[in-house]
Amino acid sequence: MEILKTIDLSKIYQKTKALDGVNLTIQKGDIYGFIGKNGAGKTTLIRVIAGIAEPTKGSFVLFGESNPMGIVRARKKMAAVVESPALHLNLSAYENLKLQCILLGIKENHNLVIQNVLKKVDLEKLLIEKKKKAKNFSLGMRQRLGIAMALISNPSFLILDEPNNGLDPEGIRDLRNLLLKLNQEEGLTMLISSHMLTELSKLATRYGFIDHGKLLREITADQLQKESRQATVLSLANSSFNLEPLIKQGLKDFELRGAQLKIYGQQPIQPYLNELLKQNIELIQMNKESDDLEAFFMKMIGGK
């Protein structure tokens, strides 16, 4: 089932094409990693889907609804944290969540709902510091509170724009575990835009690459794995060796970083090892590696 499908979606700001005919599809259960440089159009697309910005051209289907009023209704099934979390800064975390309960028309006991959601995002301590205002929170706490506000309605589709902003390594790990749990146990579909590609690669089941407002490609995590370039990585004792003889032996498509030689593709390794031995260069370790998401992304946008 398609949760979101954009059809030639475009957004033009004066003369800048922030989105240029984007056709993107998110299936139920996907954790969709949305990748692009700064200003590529990630946040603009999220703003359009969330209803904060209006598209200039094109349309989108959300939970099967494509007409404007239907989309407004469909948004009741989604939640989003766009750019920075939208908090009432002069109110406490508890009051912010209480207002969100009122806004969403939650009928269950608000105190209970708030307790549960704060527990989910590991912000239980705010139940004790009931009077601490959101303006005095750290960036990380604000981010967590924003996510708690998004989760309070038990959405079917969650949009997170740079969710790791301001989080410490522990917070990043906790958030990852929480999102994976929500996806696996509750089938929550997600669209996550992030610059932290290594982190995103631990979560996403599908990816969309965007550059200059154009969606370059959509790919599943499995496909990405298959298409990633394989490499043999030789970790050597030192970097003072001559590469010329290796190249004469046929070495091509390689990368040298200090004492680490990365040889791409299915090249015969033994002749190079022999040549290195001749130069008295000791091999410390040899292992196989495939391109990470970052390398794939760089290849995608032409290494710019």
Partner: protein, 293 residues
């Protein structure tokens, strides 16, 4: 929509600045009793007396009217603009409310805040009138009904102004800009309109000599003033002077249904309702199609 109102009221209750300003408005109202207390009335030519009636209390409340309106304008601007600048209005859109719906609720909240402000402003003088001078009477020939009609026209005017500031607050990128727009509308607006009117008046009246052709002079002056009757800002200035316009000794001046004041009624009603309609419909459509921060 019920939830939207509920969240707005919850937000209003927690807005410290609104509570502080509401208290100031309440105290300003109390000041009116003091002002009325020292009203000096000429009983006979050259013979003055100081006395207090319900009329003097209510009349005096208009002397501080403009400050009261300005404060209400500041409260509504702050209330609306913080929702925009903190980005919390986004929560409402994401929660599945249409922008038009959100716009209407914001507009209605401004009207409600205005009424709360007006009630607070009149609370002390009214309570004082009822408790000390019960029942409220309008002496010297005027009727209480006419007085109330006059006041309701003033309130319609305030609502129009407040809706205008709400619309501007929704379009503002910062809270400071929203406050500046409010000041422009409630302070600079009437001042600029008066200046423009005076320039036009002076230019036209230069062609008449009031000593030789008083009738033509007065006619030209009347035409200029009539042209400005429907101008929103001019009406606001007039509202501040309602107390002085209110003359119980000449009952026809306060009778809105007399022939001489018909045009004033329709122009006031027409211009205000047109502006309110425009703000609700065109403003709402424009807001629905615009991007938020």
């Amino acid at each position: 929509m019920k939830q939207l109102f509920a969240i707005e009221f919850a937000r209003l209750r927690r807005q410290t600045s609104a509570i502080v300003i509401a208290f100031i408005i309440f105290l300003l109202g109390g000041l009116n009793v003091l002002v009325a207390w020292i009203t000096k009335v000429e009983i006979n030519p050259g013979e003055f007396n100081f006395f207090l009636t319900s009329r003097t209390i209510l009349e005096s409340s208009f002397q501080l009217g403009q400050i009261q309106i300005l404060l209400i304008g500041v409260v509504t601007s702050l209330f609306i603009a913080t929702d925009i600048t903190q980005g919390t209005i986004r929560n409402k859109i994401i929660a599945g409310y249409s922008k038009f719906e959100i716009y209407l609720v914001q507009m209605m909240m401004s009207v409600i805040i205005t009424f709360i402000g007006l009630i607070l402003f009149h609370a002390l003088p009214s309570a004082f009138s009822w408790l000390i001078l019960f029942p409220i009477t309008v002496d010297d020939g005027g009727t209480f009904a006419n007085f109330m009609i006059h006041m309701s026209f003033g309130y319609l005017l305030i609502i129009t102004g407040v809706l205008l500031t709400t619309w501007l607050a929704l379009k503002s990128k910062t809270t400071a800009a929203a406050i500046i727009f409010t000041l422009l509308i409630f302070v600079l607006g009437p001042t600029l309109t008066t200046i423009i009117k005076t320039i036009i008046e002076a230019t036209v009246l230069l062609d008449f000599d009031q000593f030789t052709d008083l009738a033509a002079f007065e006619k030209a002056q009347g035409n200029i003033n009539a042209a400005f009757e429907w101008v929103y800002f001019y009406q606001l200035q007039r509202l501040a002077n309602i107390g002085s316009l209110f003359n119980f000794f000449i009952p026809t001046r306060i009778n809105f249904f007399s022939e001489g004041t018909q045009s004033y009624i329709w122009k006031t009603l027409g211009s205000n309702l047109a502006l309110i309609g425009l703000l609700l419909y065109a403003g709402g459509r424009n807001f629905a199609k615009s991007d938020l921060r």
